[in-house]
Amino acid sequence: MIKNSSLFRLALPGVLIALGISFISYFLSGLHKFLDSFALAIILGVLVGSCFPRKNSLWIGTALCKDILLPLGLLMYGTEVNFEKLSLCCVIGSNILFLCIVDVAICFLAVYFINKIFRINNKTNLLTACGSAICGIAAVAVGSPMVDAEEEDVTRAVIAVLVVGALSFFCTTVFFSKFFTADIDIYGEKFAVFCGMTLNQEGLVETAGKFMEKGLDTLALNVKHIRSIFIVPLGFVILLLSQLGKKNINSEVRLSVIKYGFTIGFLFFGAALLFTFTPLGNYSDAIRPMYKLIFGAALAAVGLTCDIRKVFKKETLLNTLSAFIGWAIIVAVFIGLVFFSPGYITINQIF
């Protein structure tokens, strides 16, 4: 067995590279809201990892990041899920919670079943469906240990979420902003709800806020925050779905995957409860940069060990297409509601 000192020496290069990438990603994400630090971390990780001819120099350090920094990052990410945001439903409008549930369920099921038709790998499918329905890259990162995802599954899901995020942002700001503000919704409230409901990344919602009337960007972000809370139940759903249909699997291996997934899930759920209902919540803002760096390092480690040859395949393209169709379906549902039941989406108060 390797001694602790040797293990430290072997792990150091991988850990330092992952932390370095995370730091650079965090710095770059500060330049514009459109840039997501988690997305940058995994992309830079894949790029740096592809430049190393012998990846075994990184095996131990990156493994350590995935085993320790990912659960730690998840625990800290729980600070972002504030259950008190659910009370915003009473302020915004009682229908918002129902709309969020419908939105998340339709998007998740649409992507999941389209990917089934395309015969996409189950883990990639679940991560993409989860990321599309909830909050993009962060949801993919939270879901990855729950489904015991491979590095390539995470990278494929991240690519799908990023491409669809950019396309949906373009469509939303170029076409739909005019559609909502000019023809249907003169106050722009429904457009704000639309952005909060359909854009997958918080940064995209914030950037779309520039296309709204003053004060409505907060409404859009609050809708997005309510939607993000569903990461907790959906995490357990994808954990169970990941185990369905697996026949040729050792029962010991299956049990360990389920146990690990539930541990991670409850760790995340517990942290969210703790930071919502105890005074620890006062430290959320102080913890945010730390969890971004820690979680970023874990994602950089995933990128560093990703085999790029397995990612650039037809499967990645089809997976991205299904995520886009999922987005188009929820857009159609939302527009249908605005057209056929204009009074359904009512906003009580503008922030």
Binding site: M1, I2, L10, K55, N56, W59, I60, T62, A63, L64, K66, D67, I68, N248, N250, E252, V253, L255, S256, V257, Y260, D307
Partner: protein, 77 residues
């Protein structure tokens, strides 16, 4: 025949708290990325024996039962 190498790696993952680290150490000891083994990876008796030996050290156990493989790395069936 194929899949025995992956079965050994799966057992190591299942029995480790830090499964990525355990697999990384196994890869380091063996000198190849054992996480890339799939059900289609052809069986290799020499590598199986070596894997089992290193897996025992990593898991700190004297015995390692993997379905279809005996202690020495040979197939049970």
């Amino acid at each position: 025949m194929s899949g025995k190498l992956k079965a050994i790696v799966d057992v190591v993952k299942a029995r480790s708290v830090f499964k990525n680290l355990a697999v990384a150490l196994l890869s380091y000891k063996i000198g190849q990325d054992v996480d890339s083994f799939t059900d289609l990876t052809p069986d290799d008796p020499d590598l199986e024996a070596k894997l089992i030996e290193e897996a025992k050290k990593i898991l700190k156990t004297d015995t390692l039962s993997v379905s279809g493989i005996s202690q020495g790395g040979e197939a049970n069936d």
